[in-house]
Each structure stands twice: as structure tokens, then as C-alpha cells.
Amino acid sequence: MGPITMHRTLTAFTLASLLVAVPAFAQGGVQEAQARIQGTFIDLSGTWANRLHEDFIERAPGPHIGDYTGLPINDEARAVADAYQVSMQNMPERQCILYTTQYIVMGPQNLRIQQDLDPISGAVVAYHLSGTVDRATHDIWMDGRPHPSPNAPHSAGGFSTGRWEGRVLTVTTTHLKSGLVWRNGVPHSDQATMVEHYARHENMLTVTMILTDPVYWEEPFIRSATFELDANTRVLPEPCEPQVEIPRTPGEVPHYLPGANPYLAEFPKLYNLPAEAARGGAKTTYPEYGKALRSTYKAPDKCTVNCCAGTPLAMMNNSAALCRADDAPATPPAAGAPAVPASPPPRRE
């Protein structure tokens, strides 16, 4: 072997050794450093405001009882949701149960993203997403650590690892506890897993969540929500202190027995929907279902409930802006007038 050949061999050997020896995390750190130099690094840290321009009613005041529209759930999930009574949540032992991390794209909360940096390499070790108002914190490990054993404990936050796929952060979450997807009782099980994609465009962050649950969902369930970078957004933790809100007989758990929920028919009636459409299911999420439905569907003549919800008009103290009875500002009723709207809106959870 001549000196040049030997040199090449040693160089190749050394490089190969380096690549094998360097842990995945450090390789990620090199990629990240390269991305910073090339200007392609994407910074997710900051406070992000939730504008609620989609699904305002489901995400803020809460969905109607029995409204499962657009949810590819199965009969098991319907049975659980039909039996759900929101009063269950004010039992002291349940008041501080957290929403699982899928609630980022389901709930009304803003978002704060912090990053832990490796002090030597500067690489991101983890992202921490705030958990405000009953939502579990979401820790996303970026250091290449494996997911724990399937027998490891589950939590509301689950166990999440992330990796950059070009300009998108992809996160995989396992080890979730069972939880609520919608606040009217639609569940996910502890077998659910979640893939999220965080895509930043200028000062917007779109979070896409795909939930897969073999117990309660017929198909993977996709949702996305877009947040805006906003330094003035308040994202504060709200510690939970359970208290007795309603005295109950020990062991009593509010619920409806199968077939006994008296409120399930209100939602489809309010919008002239066939009962089947309100029950959800994968087939109801595709265009062909809408095409068939529209051939017979007739909307109510006028919106009567939640018409301005989530619009600036709902906050105006101006009678011309009002578009539903319960938009009215909290002013004392005129003498002789009823203290509550004649037709109260249906119950929401």
C-alpha cells in the first residue's frame, strides 16, 4: 500500500468512524447549525395567538350536545359521547384532569413555545409548549431519544419526539391517556397516537394534527389551526385547585344511561339536519356525502343562535350590530321585559 492509498484509507476510516460515533442528536445539531448559517433555520419560539377563525363555536363556547359533525368517529365513540354529562367535570376528583395535547388544535388557548438549547452545540434539545387552562404541557424531544416501552405510564401530555422535515417540524406522540376531543364528550382512547406538523410561514404558525385511534375513530382525524406570532399575547399557567362545586352523594358520577340523553335531538333540529348527519362518521367528511345531503337539505330561513360568535360584531355595544338574542350586552332589561331571551339557545357543553 503506497502512502497516498494509505492516507485515503485512513481518511475514509476516520470519517466513517466519526459518522458512526456521532449520536443522532449531534448530527441533528450539525444540520441545525448548517441551517442557521444558510438562513433556513426556522425559529418556533415565542407566543402565538389563537385567532379562532375556524370552528369558533366548538373551540370557544363549546359544541352543542350531540354535534359530532365532521368527526370520523365510530359507534363506540358515539356511545361514550351520548352518555357524557359535562357536570362530571365539576366533581372535585375530575376538575384538574388536563386536556390531552391534541387539544392544541381543538381548544381556544394561545400558545407559548420555548426551546431548551444544548449549552455546547446550541442545538435544540426540546421544545416546550405551554399548557394553559387545563391543557397538558407538550414537551417535544429533539435529541433523538427513543419512545419508552409500550408498558410505560401514559400521561395527558404523552411522550413526543420531533424531527425537522425540511421546513416543517414533525412530531410523533405516544403514551397518551384517554381524553376528550370535543367538550361534548367525544373521546379518544389511551391507544391513540398523534402526528403533528408545525409549519411556519412568516408570522403564522400552522399546526396540523392527525390523530389515529383504533378504539374510537374510523379514520385518522386531521385538524389544523393557525396561530399568529404576537408578543402581547398572554399565556399564563392557571393552577387548578379542586373544590366542591356541587354537593353530591359519594360515588355519584353524572352521566346519561344509553338512550336516555334528552338533548341529542336539539342540535339537528336547530339546523334542519338529518339525525344521521349529526352523528358523524368517516363517510360524512367527504364531498360525495355533502353532494347527496344538499340535494334534499333546506337550511333554516335565518340564523338564530351563535350567528356573530367570534366576530368583532359580537363585542359591539351597538344594537344595530346584534345578530342574535344572546349577543345582547349585559344591560338591565326594560321594565316589564323578560330577563332572559324568550327562546334560550340550546344547551352547550
Binding site: L18, T208, Y289, G310
Partner: protein, 268 residues
């Protein structure tokens, strides 16, 4: 052994230099042919359109309506503006919505202009019309949008239902030249102007002729092989919106176009 150790160290250093060198070389690729020796390398403009595509959006995509179902899958009742940051003028216009009048005026497609179309339950068929024009067809309302890459200039003229759309790839990559292969990651950004007034929702929630639609198209690949396009959608309208309206839409790729089912616009 000392010699061997030196050789190993030298090999490591040389290897690092080689790696860094290749990176630097890659960044500088694409300098103009025939450039004078020693002159600073002026990178050629990166490829655009079909040649510059970092992701493949062609194929048939179906909108999966898991969000805003009641406002998208069916036409909501008149006066339902929930979630849209409308102004009082928009409320007045929406309160005057009359689908029979739209039908009589030949305006049944007002809910199928670009900002409303993308929220319809629809399939999209995406293809390249030519090297710098992407064609996006929707079977809902049988509409076609054209995305123009490069230095395309809108011809002007009367506003149209689908407006004039300019498109670019956002890759974040710098220093790439004309001969470099397209980057493997990135997203599509489109900006649509010159829109004829129409409806954000089929129940007459309006947008005006000064509206601008900006969309960011991300391709997301799943572990199970599924592919999704998520479109972050921003509507600005000084006439009818009090602020930008930001939503995101989800389309799943289908194996083929067997479910493609064009249908005419409906006003109701």
C-alpha cells in the same frame, strides 16, 4: 504508532475540510458560464416553475371536511357569520343575500371564487399546464385556477372569479444556481388578486374587489404513506373584513381520479 496517530488526525482534518469545501462549492454552484476568472460568482436565478418544484403537488386531492363542517358541507342559514371577522358593511351585505336573485342574474358561482372555492367540499386536480403554469381544477362548480411562476405579469382587465395568481416556491435555500437540482423541501406560496366580488361562505358573507388571497401549500407525508396538502389561507379585504381572515384547509391525496365528479355552481 505516532505516525499512525498523526495520519489519523490528518485524515480527520482533511475529511472535515473536504466536507466543508463541498458545502461551500455547492453554495456557489451555478455561476454564470464564461465568467472572468477571479470575478465574484454571481449566482444564476434559481429554477422556478416545474423545474424548481421541491415538492410534487400534481394528482387528485380530496378535501376532508373535519372543520367548520356546518359552514362548508352545507349552506348555512342566512345571517350566520360565526368565526369570520366581518365589518358592519359585510353584515349588511350578508343580510341582503338572496340566492334566487343571484340565480336570476347568472351569478350562481359567487360562492366559487378562489377564496370561497377552496373551502368547498371538492376535489382538486393539480397538473402542469406548461413549465411555468400550474393548473388547479376543482370539481365543485367546475372551476380552474392558474398559478403563474417566474416573472409573469397579470394582463390586467376586468376582475374574474379566480383572479390573477402569482406563485413561487419557498425553499429557504440560498446560493443555489441554475444548474443545481431543486431542493427536496419547501412549500408553494400563491398570491391572488384582481378578484371579482364573491362570497367567503355560500350564505352571502362577502368579499370585495380589493380582496387578496394568499395561500401557503405544505405537503405533509405520513408514516402510513398518506399524503396531505395543508393550505394556510389568508384573506385580506379592506371592504368587508376588519382584519385578515386566517384559516387552514386539508386535502388528502387520492390514488387516482376515479371519484372526480364535476358539478355546476349552485347558489343555494
Amino acid at each position: 504508532m505516532k505516525t499512525l496517530g498523526r495520519l489519523v488526525r490528518a485524515g480527520a482534518v482533511l475529511g472535515m475540510v473536504a466536507v466543508m469545501g463541498s458545502t461551500i462549492a455547492a453554495q456557489g454552484r451555478g455561476g454564470a458560464a464564461g465568467q472572468a476568472p477571479g470575478a465574484p460568482a454571481a449566482p444564476a436565478p434559481p429554477p422556478t416553475g416545474k423545474a424548481g418544484a421541491p415538492i410534487d403537488l400534481t394528482g387528485t386531492w380530496v378535501s376532508v371536511i373535519t372543520e367548520d363542517w356546518r359552514w362548508r358541507m352545507i349552506t348555512p342559514p342566512k345571517g350566520d357569520y360565526a368565526s369570520v371577522p366581518i365589518t358592519m358593511d359585510a353584515k349588511k351585505a350578508a343580510d341582503a343575500w338572496d340566492p334566487a336573485k343571484d340565480e336570476a342574474a347568472g351569478e350562481a358561482c359567487k360562492g366559487y371564487g378562489a377564496p370561497g372555492l377552496m373551502r368547498q367540499p371538492t376535489r382538486l386536480r393539480i397538473s402542469w399546464q406548461d413549465d411555468s403554469t400550474m393548473k388547479v381544477e376543482a370539481d365543485a362548480g367546475t372551476q380552474t385556477r392558474l398559478f403563474h411562476f417566474g416573472d409573469w405579469k397579470a394582463p390586467g382587465g376586468a376582475p374574474t372569479l379566480q383572479g390573477d395568481t402569482t406563485a413561487s416556491w419557498e425553499t429557504g435555500a440560498r446560493g443555489r444556481g441554475g444548474n443545481a437540482p431543486p431542493p427536496m423541501f419547501g412549500n408553494l406560496k400563491t398570491v391572488t388578486k384582481n378578484l371579482k366580488p364573491g362570497y367567503l361562505r355560500k350564505n352571502g358573507v362577502p368579499y370585495g374587489d380589493k380582496a387578496t388571497l394568499t395561500e401557503y401549500w405544505d405537503l405533509l407525508r405520513q408514516p402510513n404513506g398518506e399524503q396531505w396538502v395543508v393550505i394556510t389561507t389568508v384573506v385580506e379585504d379592506p371592504t368587508y373584513l376588519s382584519r385578515t381572515w386566517i384559516t387552514s384547509l386539508n386535502f388528502k391525496k387520492e390514488a387516482n381520479g376515479s371519484k372526480w365528479d364535476p358539478s355546476p355552481c349552485t347558489a343555494r
